[in-house]
Amino acid sequence: MAEDSQFDIEYTAKLARINLSEEEKAKFSSQLNSIIGYVEKLGELDTSEVEPTAHPHPVENVWREDVASDSLPVDEALKNAPAQRNNMFVVPKVVD
């Protein structure tokens, strides 16, 4: 339940790649704890024999044939870029 929930706001916000202020952390922690407490009611149901639903009306083998079509023009592809150079997207240096 809410009190003993394991919700780790620091870890989860980092995993979601969102910086939170201390104020937001406190607020979200308490709100999300109560939401998580609420959704735990699903635990009341025995679903051991139930198949999960991924799609409401599943069909199989939805594909297209391997025929190439036009690309976006490069200027259209880059027109919304926050930073670009040499027709590429500029990002901070990635150290891997």
Binding site: L15, V62, E65, A68, P92
Partner: protein, 484 residues
């Protein structure tokens, strides 16, 4: 204490298709940056993926070639992680229901020498699954530039069991995968173009111990040699550490080919929390026997099978087969001639493996571009076998044939290479040679049979190289014997 290495490989192979895996945009290499993108590739708001059927056909072909089981259903999952080369910040992949399960790759280890076939071994596979490739980062001093042309190229990931014990085995594993892929037309596996990439999981343990040691995931193995060198380096490093009494901590390292050493990579604390879940934008795949059999029927005879058959059926030496077989086109070309005259197969094999490859390379041509056909090569082998021309002359005839596309008979005719004398003339030349070299004759008569070879040259010279060495040898012997 003795240590042994345990190695598993994860090999990524791009499937050769016209369009991308989840977008209809052209798949390709060497285009202007960001020229092969659309809303799906850039992951614009509202864009949705649609499967490319050819990617499924391609991976099934690979799976069947490696003896994998193709289950009746498979599905798509999202692997969530943020990285600038991933436009959606999730990769569409197959987590718990891959399209290919199990299977094995037959590898050949180096023999005692180049002329001797090495030991063959089966490396077990865990699975092969399909996923989208990511874009490419170009690093500069101050920043990095991203090009998404490669993003959404069809990519399969082949995961081996920890079945390998040396860099050499890993090398052989990759070589075998590449050969099969190329044979089946699934991928060109050009590592320079990123069409094949490998990561290795390497651990070391005392010989006899059952449990695995802590593993290092080794990345940035950019060539097949890099895989071998990187793994060998890492095995030595881990062994050294263990011998010093240190422990290995599971981590990701990279191979620095320039420095020739491995080094640890920075890892984020949440690096492995990928939050896999079924991709709600894609429907599952169902495979039936009709589909499996159609793909199976498209698989050609595989390289190792072909090599064994060439050695058996045509009695080709291992060295010739190991030149012919890795190239499917070349071996098919050879066989188009050889199956018409199996008794000439060895000669044909030699011409293809030596003369044809040399001429192609000198002319900077592909096999498909060359004028010579298997049937015309056959005319040359037959001409030599019948003694119409000598092997020596045949070498020159081959070059002419390669250039002009003529048959051997046409070249022989045009160049007047056919002997313009009969056997009685050869007998005269032989007698002359005996008369001119009484010492050699005496030598032969005193029991040195080999000395007769010294008489061959003068006779061949008199015939301007056109006499059959077999005929000349026989006549010389006859005349020497007769004079005794």
């Amino acid at each position: 204490m003795e240590y042994e290495a345990v190695i598993g490989l994860e090999v990524h192979v791009q499937i050769k298709t016209e369009s991308k895996i989840f977008s209809p945009v052209k798949a390709g290499y060497g285009h202007e940056p960001n020229a092969l993108v659309d809303p799906v590739v850039l992951s614009l708001p509202g864009a949705l993926p649609v499967m490319n059927k050819a990617a499924l056909d391609g991976i099934m072909k690979a799976g069947l070639a490696f003896g994998c089981a193709i289950p009746d259903t498979c599905k798509w999952d999202r692997k969530n992680y943020f990285y600038p080369d991933s436009p959606s910040n999730y990769q569409i992949t197959q987590y718990d229901q891959p399209i290919c399960q199990g299977g094995e790759v037959e590898i050949e280890l180096p023999g005692e020498s180049r002329n001797v076939m090495g030991e063959h071994k089966a490396i077990k596979l865990t699975r092969i699954h399909l996923e989208n490739d990511v874009g490419k980062l170009n690093h500069f001093a101050e920043d990095s530039l991203v090009d998404y042309n490669r993003a959404h190229t069809c990519l399969m990931e082949i995961v081996s069991e920890p079945d390998m014990r040396s860099g050499e085995e890993a090398f052989a594993f990759l070589t075998a995968i590449r050969q099969t892929m190329v044979y089946c037309g699934i991928s060109d596996c050009d590592m320079e173009k990123g069409q094949m990439r490998a990561d290795a999981n390497i651990s070391v343990r005392p010989v006899g111990q059952k449990e695995f040691g802590a593993k290092i995931e080794l990345k940035n193995l950019n060539s097949i040699t890099g895989v071998k060198n990187g793994i060998e380096y890492e095995i030595k490093r881990q062994t050294r550490e263990l011998k010093k009494g240190n422990t290995i901590i599971q981590a990701t390292w990279r191979w620095d080919a320039d420095q020739g050493r491995t080094e640890p990579m920075r890892e984020k604390e949440d690096a492995h929390d990928y939050r896999y879940f079924p991709d709600p934008d894609l429907m599952p795949v169902r495979v039936d026997d009709v589909w499996r059999e159609r793909i199976r029927s498209e698989i050609p005879e595989l390289p190792w099978d072909k090599q064994r058959r060439f050695m058996e059926e045509y009695a080709l030496p291992y060295t010739i087969t190991s030149v012919l077989v890795p190239d499917r086109g070349l071996s098919d070309w050879f066989e188009a001639a050889a199956k018409q005259a199996p008794d000439l197969a060895q000669a044909l094999g030699n011409y293809v493996a030596n003369d044809l490859l040399r001429e192609l390379s000198e002319a900077d041509q592909q096999l498909g571009e060359c004028e010579m056909t298997p049937n015309s090569l056959l005319t040359l082998a037959k001409a030599v076998a019948k003694g119409v021309i000598t092997k020596q002359i045949a070498k020159d005839v081959f070059i002419e044939m390669f250039k002009s596309g003529e048959t051997a008979d046409q070249v022989i005719e045009r160049k007047g290479l056919k002997p313009d004398f009969d056997e009685s003339q050869v007998r005269i030349w032989c007698q002359e040679a005996l008369d001119e070299n009484p010492r050699v004759v005496a030598d032969v008569r005193s029991g040195n049979a080999k000395a007769i070879n010294a008489l061959l040259g003068p006779v061949m010279k008199k015939s301007r190289g056109k006499a059959s060495p077999q005929v000349v040898g026989a006549l010389l012997r006859e005349l020497i014997d007769a004079g005794e």
